[in-house]
Every structure is written in C-alpha cells, then in structure tokens.
Amino acid sequence: MKKNLNRYGLKGPAGTIHKLFLFMKITGMILMFGFFDLPATPAYYLNDDEQQKLTISGKVTDSKTGEALPGVNIVVKDVTLGTNTDMDGKYSIAVPDRDAVLVFSFIGYTNLEMPVAGKTVIDVALVSQLQNLDEIVVTAYGTQKKNTLTGSVSMVKGNVISKIPVPNISNSIAGNVAGVTMRPNGGQPGYDNPEIFIRGIGTTGDNNSPLIIIDGFRRNNISQLDPSSIESISVLKDAAAVAPYGLGGANGVILITTKKGVTGAPTLTFNTYYGWQTPTYYPDLLNAKDYMKLKNEAYLNANPGSPDAELPFLPSMVNDYDNLHAQDPDRYPNSTARDLVNMVAPVQNYNMQITGGTEKMKYFAGIGYFKQEGLFDQVNYSRFNYNINLESKVTKTTTVSLSVISSMERRNDLDPSEDAVHMFRSAYKYLPIHNLYYTNGLWGQSSGNAPAAVLNAGGWDKRDLNTVLSSLSIEQQLSFVKGLSIKGAVSYDSNSGFQKGWHTPWYYWVQDLSTTPYSYDRRINPKEGGDAPAYTYLTQQNSRGQAITLQGYVNYQRTFGKHDITGLFVAEGRETQGSFINARRNNYVVSIDEINMGSSDKNDFDNGGSSEIGTQIGYVYRLGYVYNNKYMAEASGRYDGHYYFAPGLKWGYFPAFSLGWRLSEENFMKNITFINNLKIRGSWGKSGNLAGDPYQYLSGYNLVGSQYAFGSGTMVPIAYSPQEANPNITWEISTKTDVGFEATLWNSLLTVEADYFFEHRTGMLLPPAITVPQEYGLPLADENAGEMENNGIELTVGSRRELANGLKLGFIGNFSYAKNKMVQVYETSATYDNPNRRRTGRPYLTPFGYKSLGLFSTADDKNNDGVINSEDGYNITQFGELHPGDIRYADLRGQNGDLTPDRVIDQNDEVSIGYPIYPEMSYGFTPTAEWKGFDLSLFFQGSARASLRTFGFQTVCFRNDNSDTDYEYLNNHWTQDHQDAKYPRADLGPTANNGNDLETDFWMKNTNFLRLKTLTFGYTLPKSVLNSLKISNIRAYCSGQNLLTFSNLKYMDPETGAYDDVGTSYPLMKSFTFGLNVTF
C-alpha cells in the first residue's frame, strides 16, 4: 500500500484528501475509457519492483540570486515518481535507472530537464521566467512561443486578475491588458457586467463585443468563471491573431485558460475574503426645508412678485420647519430617501483548490462560493463554482484531458413589477416633505411612488442559472512522422435557467391629520404609470441552452536545423440550441407562490415559449516558419460557414499574413548587451463579424399571439411581415493592419511592447433608406453598406528591479488609444449637407446638439422686465420665453444648409458637442513592491476622451414632475446673486418653456478619470514560522477597490452606468476587503 502512495508521490498529512482525489481520478478514468479504449498494458501499471533503484540528491537554487528554492517539484520523466525540495532547496529522489531524466518545475520558473547520466548529486539553478524569452502564449487553437509570435497578443496571468475582489473578471481586464477598454453597466450584484471593447468600437452594429473563448471553445461564460480558477487570459487583437476565428473574430478575442494540474505533490490552496461595499457616489438630496425654499424660488421665477400667501410654501412655515418637524414629524416630515438603502453591503468569497499529479496523471480541482449583497435586503447575487481538470498520459504518445467547469448562480431582485435600478429613480422622486415612514412605522408615498411599499410588500424575483461546461480531448503523437500529432476535442456545454417572480400588491398608508391621534388608511399603490397590478401574480420561466462543439486538430511542429516549421489545421463544427417556456397566473387568493395556486379563471393564465437552433462549421489553418529564431513568417485563416445566411452565401474565407524580425538575434546587435530582445512585427488580414439576426435572407410572416380581440374580448393572434428579406445579406468584414515592436532591455528592467493598428470595417448593416419610398410600407432588411475606420496605438511597459536590501519593485503599465470614424453611414441629407451636423467622418455615437454660450445674466435683460427678448436687443428666437439664468444658444446656420445665421435656433444650428460615451483612451498601471514578506500593489486605471450628458437629477431643478433635487444643483445654480453659475435658474418643471433641457454642450462633461481601482497590502508569514505549522504558505491581506477617484465630476461616478438619465442607475461600488491565502 505504501508503495502505491509513493508512486503517486503522495505523502504527509493530506492522505484523506488523496483518497478523495484517487476516487475522482478513477471516476475520470472511467469516464475517459468510455470514449477511449484502455491500452493493453499501460505504462502506468508497470511494476516498479522490476526496476533498478538509484537515489539522487541535490539542491535547487535561483539562477540569478543563488537563493535556495523550496517547494520545487521534481519528477522522473515518463515515470510516476516525484518529490519536492525542502526549505533549504534540498531534495532526494529515487530513480529507476541511470538513464532517467529529472524534471524540475516551479511556478514562475522555466521547467528544466536534467539527465541523471549516472550522477548521484545533481544541483540545478532554475531560471526565473521574468528573464525567460521562451514564454508560451495561448493563442487561437493552441499555444505559440512569445519570442517568435508575429501577431498582437497580450496576456495576463490569472493571479494578477484574481487579486481584484470582483465577482467576475470582466470588471478587471481593462487596465490590465493593453487594448481593452470598458464601460460599466452599474453595480447591481449579478447584473454588473461591463461592456468590453478590444481596440475601441469598430462597428456601428449591435454586435461590438469581443469573442470569448474558454479553454479552446467558444463560450460566452466569462461571468460564470471563478476568477481564481483562471490560469491566464490572452487578448487577441490583430488579424494574425484573430483570423482563425473567422467571422467571430473582428471585434477581437478574449481567450481564457483555466488552471490545469501541476505535476508534484498535492498542493491545497485556500483563499477567502470578506468585505464591505458602499456606493462610490450617492446623491445628496435636498432636505424638506431646502426643497421648499427652492420650490418657492422657482415659483417666484415663474411668477415674479407673488405675495407670500401665493407661494407653494408659506415662508414663515418654511423658516420654522425644523421646529415644526421636531414637534410633529408626521405632519411636517423630513424624509431622506437614502434611508431606503443599505449603505453597507457585505461581499464574501471562499475558494479551495487542489492540484498535483505525476507525469502520467495531473489533476486540478477547485470549488468556490461567492456572495454579494445588494443595497436593498432583497437584492443579492451568489455563485457556487466547481471545476475539475484531469490530464492523463494514457500511453507514451496519448494524452487525454477532461475538464468540467460548473457554476450555479442566483440573482435576487425586487418584485417583478419593480427592479433595483428603478428604485434609485423612485428615491429621487420622493419628496422630502412626504412621509417615507411615519413615526408608527407605517409607510407613505410620494407622487405615485411608494418605494417603502415595494420593499415591504414581500414580492421577489429570483433568477437561477446553472451552467456546466465540459470538454474532453484526446491528443495522439503520431510516431511515424516526427512532430506530427492529432487531437480530437469535444465540448458539451449546457445551461438551465429558472426564473420566478412573485408580485403582491403594494400597500401604503394615507395619513388623516383631522383625527386625534392621526389615523391611517391602507391603500394600494399602482406605481407611477400604473405598471404594478393591484392583484397578486406569479411568473415562471424555464429555459435551457446547449452547445456542442467538435474539433479535429492536426498539428505539426518540427525543427530542421535552423528552420522551425509549424502547421496547424483544425476542423470545427458547432451547434447551439436554446428554448424556453414561461407561464404566468394572476389573482392569487391564497398567498402561496406556486403556479397552480392562482386563479382558475383561464383569463388569468398566460404562457409562451420558443426555441432556436444555430450551426457553424469552420476550417482553420496556421502555417509558420521561423529561420534561426530570427525571421518569422506566418499565414493563418479560416474558411467559415454559418447558418445565418442564404444557401450559397453561407461560406466566407478570412486569411491573415504576418511577418516578424528579431533584430536582437542579428550579429550586429549581439554587442548591444542591454538589449535582451528586440522584435518588430507586422500583420495584415481579414476577419468577420456577425451582424443583425439570423434568417434575414428569408421573407415570412411572424405569428404573434393575443394582439387583437373580437366579440366579447376574445383575443386573436396576428401574423405580419416584419420586413422584406435581403437575400444577399452577409457578415461585416474587418480588414486589419498592425505593426508593433517588443523589446526587453537590461534583463527585464524594462520591457516595452507597442502597436499601431488600423482597421477598416465594411459591410456593416444599414437601413437601405434610399432604395424605396416610405410609402412602400414594409421595412427592408438592412444591407451590408456601412463602412468605418478605426485606428490607434497600444503601449505596454514593464519594469522589475530587485534592490540589494531585498526590496523588489515592479511596474506594469499600459495605454490604449483607439479612434474610429464612420466612413459610410446612413444619414439624412439634412445632416449630411451641413458640415456641423454631418455624421459621416465622425466617430460613432458622437453626440450632437446646440452650442451654448453660457447663461443669460441680468445684464442681458436691459429693460429689466425679467424676460429677454427683442426689447432687450436679443433678436434670436430660441425656445419659448427666455430669462436671465437660462442657457443662451449660438445661432450658427440658417435653413437648409444656408450658411448665414437666421436668428432662429433650430436643428440647423446643431454641432458636435463632445466625445462619444465610450473612452478613446484607456490606461492602467500597477506599481508593486515586496519586502520581507510584505507586498503592496496599487492598480490604477483611467480613461480619457469620453463625454457624458450630465442632465439629470443631480444637475437639474426638479428633474421630473414632483421630484427632489440634489445639493449639487442647489449649491451651484443661477440666482441674481450668483450669476456666474454652473446650472440654470430654478424652474418649476425641468422642461419649462426655455429650452434648457435640450441636447447641448452645456450638459456634456468630459469623464476623464483616474482611479485607484485596487489597492492590496499583504503579509506572508516567514518560512520559519510556517515550517513549524506544516503549512507552505500563509498570506493575509487587505484590499480596497475604487478607493480614490480623480475626476472633474465631483458629484457622480464618471463611469456611471446609465447613458440617458444619469444618476438613476444602480451605483458602482467601492469596497474594503480582508483576505487570507493559505497553501498546504
């Protein structure tokens, strides 16, 4: 028995876990053998009693510092023996014979193979990977050597990403990888995936997101991954890198590789963190007194000279309000909508991983749990993950891998007739002079909003998503042609969704002040606009999705003297299916949230469902040639077929070519010793992008149920043609050109990588407006007519230095700039003919509006009648009546392209008023320091050249009918005594008759920002302490996220989620966390 354990390299206190994994391994083997016949006599079961024994010992050190390296894995190649170095870097291992080969591996160092060759003492020095130029980079359908790579690929290690305490990595790629920008979508737990762009936005179409590949298969499951299960992330940017993804690659590709087993004794790692989140910015709404004062001010603006008795609030009462409120808070409320929100929301994460194995069998298993609370009690997100990866060399030439990545997610939200995001709008709309809660604990409403009722009604919305990503691959070296291997891989991914929502009527209480004590009547709140039914209902939806991908690889890799030749051919087929069914029932008499417990009247029933299927086939190739590690040439591409398009138009070909030259290998450079590596490279190629919807080539009638009624309300279905088909519809084509260089100087003291890229996107879908008149009455399917250009640069700089006193300093920084331009885009003659308004030639989503000339002052009102008009010499017609404190617009143009101003402000006066909302520039930098067990890392991220329309609750007086206002407005608005103000004068309504609410540069603000995204400070216990604990590593750390933000916007988050009504989105969070990493 002991022998067997030894064979697995298992020993020590973790024996029970070993048994567990032995079990799992066997299970895995059984699974694999279901697919692949068991070899007759596997090497695995060779009886090592037959082997002759020899014991080798030695010491492992760092090649540069000479320091001993503890914990280095040492195995005998092709045999299942292994050990680790001790605290002094020393080891001892028994080998079967004199010809054995020892393999030394250690994280952060290059593997080293050392033939025993009869020696009994073998000391080795491992080379740190920082100095290693043979780094392997994950690329499309395989891996390539970094030093001879000719495409533009950025890679970041999983341990960098997993340091950031966010639920999923999509929030932490930007700033860590050059060329990646993002735009957050608010901070609601489970719904906070940002939009990610690679090299900016290259298309005007809806599909502008990168392709996500996980472990070699297309899987849009970035948010389902446990960050700590990630080994590395590669971002593929240029044509050479993305061409193998054919019509999926034009927007760039993110390749995520999950962790695999590492040879050696089992390593058990435990990570946890617990933290507290709070909004980065939360609105500062007026209290009752200031609200009433502002209301009176606005009333006086609209009705100058009104006596006190006519004002909305008697000034005497307002002045005495604090006192009145103290005496009778129910009659004189002073509500704070912030009371609805839990300003501190915990977040917690637990994660355990085990890895180990031998040359024959490596395993990795991880299990994790994450939970993030929201700003309301009912709102939260939780995720349970597990993943297993087994890799077995079943014969000397055959490798079988099995991987399962699974997650179970739950998103909880408020009542199905409400959502957490809308609650923030309700909070702005809650007037402080209305009771949020009465002193007796009951709650009230304000203008149709009863947010407290929503929180207290007991309604809920639950969304579960269970995902299993499984894959199996078999790789076979073909010994009859050296360097040739084939691989078959299959993935089966499935998800099942379950959604259930329970609405109960929202009650609130109306206060009757005429009784003593005050009396309270219960009422139903229909929500502003009447969207919340006064009856109880239940909705339920079940959905399922699956994707099957089959891949067949032929790989060739061989070196003939100075010639390195690589060839890759992959055939890939993929089928996706999805379906859902939903049901609803209304009018529950009994309060049991089961679908059958509702009304039995069929009019209270509803159901629906649909299904879809999609297929794709692709043939990928990559041919590489490297001469003497110096000159590189590569051709890659894909022949791709997709079900979206008409027969005969389903197939496309996307080729790419690239060249590289490592100058540092040239003789004339050899003397320049400070240059370790210098490479220039260039690529050109095409890739595609799916746009629009499938089947746009087919005409047909859509059938929709219950759209009209006859008789006594009998609902009938309808059928209609949504559009005229475009039989020629096809994909977008992106033609990408890239040139770049990479340099490593002074032994990694400085690494630099820089790229310039140019992309020309054609075939973007545009409405073919000019083909038929509007009277045609049927929309035409879009045509592939749009064109856009996108270019920019990226720069990555890294530096690492270790001082004599042991202080290690590091720095990684990156910078991305991408600017696009619409070359061919649909626009009307009205905008095209006016250069100020022309969309063509400008960046996509450029905002347009009126140019403002500041606010009118009282000096502009020459006759002092409170109105600015021709009597004051102002002869320009704006919008309605103008007053001091209203926005003055520039009259730039006349009608129909007339260049002379026409004294009327209208659409002809529009100009471009800012940058698009997504940033043109994005950058990040991470200084790190380590010293005597302490480690400090600061991750800064910033972006520039993006605009936001700030017109919203924070900047506008009474933004919406009956809404409160922010102190940002109150403290900065125009009054007679504050003429040089940031915001216009107070009006009773936001769109009062003055045009202040229009699209104008007045409201556009640059959202340039730099923020300390993550600060981590950790301490690793010294080895001396750990040795006594039999623990190999303990690190405790504290971390903060979004702790500091430098931005011109002081009152809202520059990355605020909402594009339209800013400030009403779910806030982004800052957090403080404490964490612990333990490795056994």
Binding site: D37, A302, L314, S447, G530, A571, G700, V716, A719, T828
Partner: protein, 601 residues
Amino acid sequence: MIKFKIIRNIALTGLILAGTFSCNQEDFLETTNKGTLTDLTMWASESNADIYLNYCYSLLPDKPGNPDYLDNFTDDNDVSEYYTSYNWKKGIVNAGSDYFGAWGSQVGPAMEANWAQTYKQIRACNTFITNVNKNATNFSEEYVAKRIDEARFLRAYFYGELFTLLGGMAIITEPQDRATMTEDQLYVPRSSFEETFNFIISELDAVINNAKLAVKYSSGAADAGRATLGAALALKGWIQLFAASPAYNSASPAVPASPDNLQSFATPDQARWADAAETNKKFIDTWGHKGSGEYNLFPKMTEFWREANEYNEEVIWDRQYVATTMPNNFDVWGGGPTYVLNTYICWGNYSPTQQLVDEFQTADGKNITDPTSGYDPQNPYVNREHRFYNFVVYDGASYKQEWMPTEDIIRYRIDQVHPSLNEVDYGGGDVGNTGYSSKKMINPYYTPSELNGQNFVYTRYAEVLLNYAEAQNEAVGPDVSVYEAVNAIRTRPGTDLPELQPGLSKSEMRDAIRHERRIELSYEAKRLYDLFRWKIAEVNMNFDLQRIVITNTSPADNSGVWVYTPTSLDRPHNFTQKMYFVPVPQGAIDQNPKLKQNWGY
C-alpha cells in the same frame, strides 16, 4: 504490438475527425426558422388568412393609449410641457423630425396618423386584398367578398385618418414590390385633395354597395369589432362633411391653394355640403332612429363607455380593448383627479380649460354669456347642464366612482389652511393646472390600471346626427330636420336640455351646432378636426387659455370669501397658418422626390 497501437490510435482519432465532418455540411448549416410562416401557409385557408386580417385590425390607432391624447392639441385641454402637443402649441412643428412619440416631439398631431405608420397600415390591407384574390381558390366566395370588404374599409379608414390631417396622399392600392415594379409604380406622387377624397369615398361606396358586411354587431356577437356597413356609411358621411368644410372648400381655404391642389379643392362647391347631408341622412333614415333603428342614441350617457354597454345602439365604430391582456390606458394618463381619497391614482393629464368649462350651458339651456342665464361667476358650478356634472370634476365636486368606498370632495382651490393634494401647482407635479379634471370615459370600476378593458369608440351615432345637422344647415339652412337632429341630442335622457330656440338664423344655428359638438364630443379626439376644418384654430389656438384660481380673501384662516378668478395659464400659443396641416416628413420626401411638401413647411 507497437504497430497495432499506432494504427488503432490513428483509427480512433480519425474516427473523431470523421465523426465531426462526415455529415453533409450544407445540411448541417440549413436550419429551420420555425418563427415564421411562409406565403404558402399564410394564405392556405380562411382561418390562416384571418390571422393576417387580424393584423390589419390590430393596426387601428390606439388613440387612448397615447399619453399625448389628441385633445391635448386643442383649446379644450391643458397639459404640461413634456408633450409633443406643448411644442406644437408653441408653434414648433418640424418636417425633419422622424420621432412620432408623445414626449417632446416636433411633429404636431401626426403622432397617431403619421406618414410611415399610415403606409404600413395601407400595405397591410393591400397585402391582404391582393393575396386573398390571388389565392381565391383556397377560400369560399362569401369569405373573399366579405373579408375583402373589411380590408377595403380598414384601408379607407387609414387613408382618411391621414388625409384629414395632411391633405392629398399618394394613393397605393396594391403591395409594392421593388423586384417587379417600375420606378413609376414605386414612386407615386401625391394625389390632389380632391382625388384623395374621391378615392376614399369610392372605396366606401363600394363596400356599402356590395352590402356583404353586417349593418351592426350587437354585444356578444363573435364578430363584434369587425367592420360594418354602419361604420362604412358613417365614415363616408364624416369624410364628406370634413371635405365640405370651409378650410378646404371655400374661396379662401385654410392655407393658400397650390397648383397641385394638395390641401384644398380646386373649385369650391357648396353642393359638397348637400352630399354630406345626404349620406348622414341616409344613415339616420336607413339604420338610425328614423329607419330600422339598429342605431340610436343610448339613453344613459353616463354609462355609455362601460364594458357592459359595449356595442350598444349608439356605437358605430370602435377599437377593442381587453382587461389585462390588451388594456385601455386612457385612465392612466388622466383618470379624473390625480388624488382621490388622498390616494395618487393618475397623471392628471385631462385638465379642461376654463374655455371648455365656460362652454357648458346652464341647466335651462342658456349660454353663460346670456344675461338671462342667471350664471354667477363667483358661484360658477351651480345650475349647470347635466353634461357638466357628468364630464367635469370641479372644485368642491362630489366624486364617487364604483371602486371608491366613499365619496370624495375634490378641491383645487388654493387653501393655506387645508391644503389639498389636488391644489393647482402650476408646473410642479402630476396635478393638473386648470382647476378642473375630465372624468368622461373613465372606467368607474378600477383605479387606473391594466384592468380597464373599455373599448374606445371612434364613431357614435350622436356624431352622425351632428354631422347631418351641420351639413344640412350649411346646404339648406336650419330646417326642421336640423332642429330634430340637434334636439335629439339635447333632449336625450340624462342630458335633458331644452330644445333649441326656434327661429335661429343659419349662422345662429351654425354656432349652436358647433357648441353642441364641442360639448357632446369633448374628450373624444374630435375637437382638433373641428378647429381645423372650421378654420378657427388661428383664433382659438392663439388664445391665452385660462384656468380657475380660487383663493380666500383671508388666506390665513379662510374667514373671508372664496374668489373665483379665471387666470391665464401662461402657456405658449403660437398657431401659424401652416399648422392647419401636418407636414410630409422630410424623410419621406428624401426617399421619394416626387412627393410635394405642404404649404409653409
């Protein structure tokens, strides 16, 4: 042994590769789109084809579903600055805008009948007619005749909706097909006002003369809601009355005549009044209260719109609504006062102006301007006609809907002692600003919610009577039949007004009919067309509309008297001549250069 292993490994791996790609690639990529029906199935049977006709019906304008209800554009109602109607009243109407929504658009009252939407509706009808004819062998003869008449009626209705706002239209009677049609067939110019009018009338005549449709459906009939002969004849009578009106049929039309006569008749002809009178008379004499009696005035106006009374004898043409699944949202925008029993219930959009309120007569049928009426401006809400109390909520009104446990006294006055939630706040919240709310058409059983399944009535018999009276008065003068028609409405049980005073001049009768029309059809999306066709918008819409301000002479303790002061609403009112018509959207002209723009745009 080794060799065997190699061969086996190759074989197995090859099998995987082969398994991946052995299937026919084109078959694999050929997936079925189950979401759509083909031409073959769509027209295969009567029941299938009906599904398409259902679509044509579903395109009937959802007038009450639009928060910027058509009466917002008139002198009857005041609504806040968010709305398209507010821009329009400011004088902002922009052919370049292609946003036809309710909020802040610059398209004027074209929202519900805009160019693109109308031609979508017309194409739907054309598609049905063409395909049913083409596949006639799949249907019974009776089906073809009846359903095509329904589609022709719908098409005429859709044409009429845009014609009455925009003038001459491009007349297209079959679905255009760019693959087969010539440019001339695709790019159709606008027909003149007269040609468009003639087309609509001839289509309706065809439907009426075919006589394949039912005259009327009663409540409970399975086909209730489908087009009827009654609807066709009433629509014809309305279009004829509209076209005969001075804005289009006079020496000085609403806007200057163009060479193409797109917005008025080339030659004014008073005989058009007689045509309109004849059609409306035919309705009254054939199916109305003077004929078979299928159509008549409903005796209880206060309950006219209730779901229980759908398809009552007065309903001629309506749009269907069904509680929960296809609700009528009219109430949500303005179902009476904003606060009832201290409860917020609606947006308060339907706020009658002082001008509309002043139009209501006293109980004895006199205008309040009549010195003998006994009207007291400081006690204005007593002794008014029944319709005032049925339609309008005013300060001090008792309000009791079926859903309310108790009645509520609604207060709009400015009261510092007992402030009311409904107090006019001028620009602040959802509370209306005129001091009045309209309660006409509101579902009494529910607070505004998706439970309102009341149908929206486009045309009712009272309008036919008023159409007749107006046309006959203009054509012949105030003869007995004119009096009869107007008096039928005035003396309806529940309205109970005295008959019109005998001996009115033609002009006095005209005023009486216009008055009656404004009150009887108020808040039924009718007033705007009257403002246009009577050419009175330049006066009525350039008037500083008013609200009522009610204050106490001793505001601190209410010990004084309550003073009623009609006060300016201070809303913009800038009606220019071009606004008698909506523009052709610039986008439509860009796409079809043959289209001519309306005058002034």
